[in-house]
Symmetry: C2
Subunit: 356 residues, 2 copies
DNA sequence: TTGAAAGCGATACCAC
DNA sequence: GTGGTATCGCTTTCAA
């Protein structure tokens, strides 16, 4: 058995209360006694039992709010699953996680939802925000009210959020470029397709991609000018069709946004499947099918589940243990998925007792 | 606040004890009362508080043994880290995890270690075993003694272990082949290098690879006969050197075992870096460097940390909750690593309260 | 068949 | 400064 506070108390000839105060520097304890207690504790290698601590915490009930935007998209649906699992698990420890979903990116509604959750008395807030000055201001205000905010999936850089959990899109773009270089012959042409010109995520993916393409001189790739498809398959289809006709020697297409299906359809119809390599983002039912179908060469996935899953936990840790994040920016892994590793059961890590 | 057993007891007009017995079907409770209790519980959506349950469990102290072989290898060092972190976390919940390390694959020693841990009174055992009849027998005996065994990293199929946590090497080989097909021109030659002819892991990797290469007829790849390098860089170097000379048009090398550095050195010296695509296994300091260096095209990683980390938890769940694994075979994800996504902080999942 | 009470380990509050 | 005591939610005796 592990050593308990009680045992230390007996050895030190004091009560558990005193031991507790001493070890946690809560004051009101004789310095001499304190050092004696500390000595015994370190000798025995005392670590407070987390379960005991956790049980005490259930007294003060803890409420956490989470707001998810764009729930209609496949990726956000996965994020939502993560959020829900975390909520389930935390509920079993007496923590209430209130999830609010909204479709689209309605800032007005987002601010309303935040307000509503604050009134409900949440002690922390996880949001997938728009990156606007208004929201930045809102986050900073929450911080002043001592309501910690965590951003997930998308960030508001420069705000007083305690942290961000999501993917590094610039790095994603770089990774895509690295793969593209490996897959197409030196001296080929590549066409980058993006989504919205104003979308930070898409822009980062594009910039990271272009940087590496230019830097990998050994590949000697010609980068065609990028075009936006506004996340629409029909536009992506048309654009791709046109690009394929205009460039019979096109070797690769980089799809930084949605529209994957449109791109693939155009390639297939042109009879250029497998000849034109396509790197895209986000694993879901559609892209998985396109992989199986040999239309997509590979997909970069952003661990959407993990983003939703971790956000409430990070807040919980912060609120209860006052523990900050290891890093303000928690970047989720960039997974490369191909036909052969995209249907693995993405098993979650096991459920664990919480840590100091 | 979540609903507690106490609340149910009050509403049902009985005591907590009765509620507990009813909800857990421990018997000795009036059927009528039981149904009333069940009704109230489901109405209120009662879920037992896991922390409360866990605290009670700390009474019966729990000991788990873990034996790690081949600790001298980079991969097993990572597995060990996972094992250690799990041990740390579990200790804080009053569970003792005894880790024994041994270098090499000494079956004699392994059996001794198992014996010793059983004498120490472990209630469960996690091992990275040799796949031999002796060990299978040993595992089956442990099972009869009601000491559940979990295999991790390597398995003993057909034994009475409650489960295996590790990678599906066949699938790994398939994934490698898929990547190779994407990277080299149709009609090229590929050379597979393996480790030991008797090593199941290597053989599975090889078989999976060959299967897909043959099946992906669109790629029309010529598979040269494989050769073993006995996990040695010097042999790998020589073999590769020879293969490169004999096949000036060689487009790809598949390294199913250790020897990556030898392969890369030969390629570099032959001035064929980047022209010959190399797919290898296991991310570590060496392979990471070879990736950065453009010698390796990509590395398939097996989430070694996770394997070590999960093994004790799976046992813990089994011992305390009598909860079996979701599946007898828990396959860890196959991660594709390239120059650009190989140095991400591999952040672990957060530490969680345990789940029902 | 049931209830009352004693823990599990840590914390918080209130007397002294 | 210090010790005693209640408490968190659940399980598990032991009496009744």
């Amino acid at each position: 058995m592990a050593v308990t506070a009680q045992q230390i108390a007996e050895l030190a000839g004091v009560s558990r209360g005193t031991v507790d105060r001493a070890l946690h520097n809560r004051g009101r304890v004789n310095p001499e006694v304190a050092t004696r207690i500390f000595r015994i504790a370190t000798e025995l290698g005392y670590k407070p039992n987390l379960i005991g601590q956790a049980l005490v915490r259930t007294k003060r009930d803890c409420k956490i709010g989470a707001i998810l935007q764009s729930v209609e998209t496949p990726t956000m649906k996965i994020v939502l699953e993560g959020l829900r699992q975390a909520a389930d698990e935390l509920r079993a420890s007496g923590v209430e996680v209130i999830i609010r979903e909204q479709s689209g990116l309605d800032e007005e509604l987002l601010l309303e939802n935040i307000e509503a959750l604050v009134i409900e008395g949440v002690q922390g807030l996880a949001i997938s925000p728009n990156n606007t000055p208004e929201l930045r201001q809102c986050i900073d205000q929450l911080d002043e009210q001592n309501i910690p905010v965590v951003t997930f999936n998308s960030d508001v850089p420069g705000s007083k959020r305690i942290g961000f959990i999501g993917v590094n899109n610039y790095r994603g773009g770089q990774t895509a470029a690295g793969l593209m270089c490996q897959m197409i012959p030196a001296g080929s042409k590549v066409f980058p397709l993006t989504g919205h010109l104003s979308n930070t995520a898409h822009n980062n993916r594009l910039n990271g991609f272009c940087e590496v393409i230019e830097q990998e001189t050994a590949c000697n790739i010609t980068l065609l000018p990028f075009q936006p498809c506004f996340d629409r398959d029909d536009y992506a289809y048309e654009i791709t069709q046109h690009m394929l006709r205009a460039n019979p020697d096109l070797a690769g297409i980089y799809v930084a946004a949605n529209g994957q299906q449109g791109v693939c359809q155009a390639i297939e119809e042109a009879g250029r499947k497998r000849q034109v390599k396509v790197v895209a983002f986000d694993l879901n039912e559609i892209t998985r099918k396109l992989l199986q179908n040999d239309c997509l060469s590979c997909v970069l996935d952003q661990k959407a589940f993990e983003q939703g899953y971790r956000a409430p936990y990070v807040l919980y840790e912060y609120i209860t243990h006052k523990k900050s994040l290891q890093s303000e920016l928690i970047y989720t892994d960039i997974a490369i998925r191909t036909k052969y590793n995209s249907d693995l059961e993405i098993t979650m890590m096991p459920e664990l007792p919480q840590k100091e």
